[in-house]
Amino acid sequence: MTQPQALAAAFPPGAKVTRQTVFLTPEQLSAARQESGLEFDDRMIVRYSAGTAAGVIGYAYFDTHRVRTLPETVMVVVTAEGKIVKIDILSFDEPPDYFPKPRWIDQFRGRKLDDDLSLKRAIRPISGASLSGRAILNASRKVLAIHKVIGAR
């Protein structure tokens, strides 16, 4: 799936999708790391806001990261208030046996950035593919933390 295809599937027809580029200040990056509990160096954040006449309905972020030895790219869609709407995998280079099933990813729907968003808490692990599950979990925490730091615009 390309980014345009993913964005079209993420938001209802007729929503106006606007690309936003935000450059994190060192303080924002530090805050995002603290909020997520992860170490990352992304300083240029690109997100896509979707709006209707009623206002902004959500934001889509894309994140590329390593699963086991190979990368995957995911799209995380969040509400303005910082809850996950959906997660889609755009590319996945590991063997298919490690691919997270859609019903496993559904566990993230409605989740916000808190201690329950953890494989030790509310997110059940994937049997036989623990690293795949951790990769999705880390991506969701990172996106929610960045979203919290830069806010809805």
Binding site: M1, F62, S91, P102, K120
Partner: protein, 431 residues
Amino acid sequence: MRLVASVLLALTASFPLFAQDANDLERRLRELEQKISQMQAAQPSNDLTEIRRQIEILGQEIESLKTRQTEKPAAADEVQFGLGAAASKVYRSAPGVSFGGYGEFLYQNLEERTDNADALRAILYTGYKFSDRVILNSEIEYEHANTERNGEVEVEFAYLDYLIDPKVNVRTGLMLMPLGITNEQHEPTAFLAARRTQVESRIIPTTWSELGAGVFGDIGRVSYRAYVTTGLSSAGFSATGVRNGRQMGSQAKADDLAFVGRLDWQPIEGTILGGSAYSGNSGQDAAFGGRVTIAEIHADAKYRAFSLRALASRGTIDDAAAVNDANHLTGSGSVGESFGGWYLEGGYDVASMFPRGELSVTPFVRYEDYDTQRKVPTGFLRNPANDQNILTIGVAVKPIPQTVIKVDWQDVDNAAGTGLNQWNIGVGYIF
């Protein structure tokens, strides 16, 4: 203005290096953005507006590289295995090689025996994606470090998957037998104790692979595998089980084939309930059939900090007396006409009190009971030493998910009263 233009020129000239230094380019773009904002505030200018537009374009290019949108996507109408409707159009990279592996080191402090330390195994996984529908998976295993000192090198598995549909796909080659829990999930991070269970090692017997072909797939929350493979060879059977009857794809005798099937049901994420069965003759051109049948049921559940695992297995060997005769086995050296065992394991990750971070500290208890000679042919004897139960108490620590350090103590009892206890330290990794 000249400074800004020269920076832009430098950025554009360094385009081929984007893939290697995206972070540095992001930093430079950010600095440039800040300077332009300052200049725009001080003195609005059409030139600055144009430069801001060019920065936006460069930012898009960096984003495309980071999210790999520059690579060729899959065909728009191609349905991918295991995906839901919204994600069915999966973007794939070009065919290529994937690497992985795992390894274990084991120290055993043995009661009344010589303690030992062993580079137990080092495995290299290699996969190759010929296309989105044809994939090779293989593992090479190196055991005990040195082939001149009781070490071994073997192909643990090497098979081709032909992906047709989520419900049915074809697999062929040297395949892991889909029996039990550990046989297919045997990385050191996948089980809590330093040593695998004796039930799965002796009764299943893991790790076990055979040449063959079959089908596999997912139907809703149920997954299945069904193969036809080369059978065991009874020439390797003994009082301690069928383990040495595994042919492992090494010039395997194929007069007798076998069928193996497995069903797993995942009622909720993190929980699997299932069972499997194997049946096939083992005589391999002998005068007897020697049908071996092994069946098991299992449960594996993880919920928050809790983990629970249970398995029960039973097996039979037909024509056991004929197998004894062919293998020159007498008295209590007889193969088991019937053999079986079960185990139960529970653990709790105490590091879950700290949900952030990757550290996992799981104390656990495991109890297993097995007998490789539950029943022997008339005229032969059972060796009570083969009727064992083992209590394992320990802790598994994962500083990061890909590595594990295990320390446990094993109380080993048998019906002969000759069980010897031991404690173990295991270190494992997976990548």
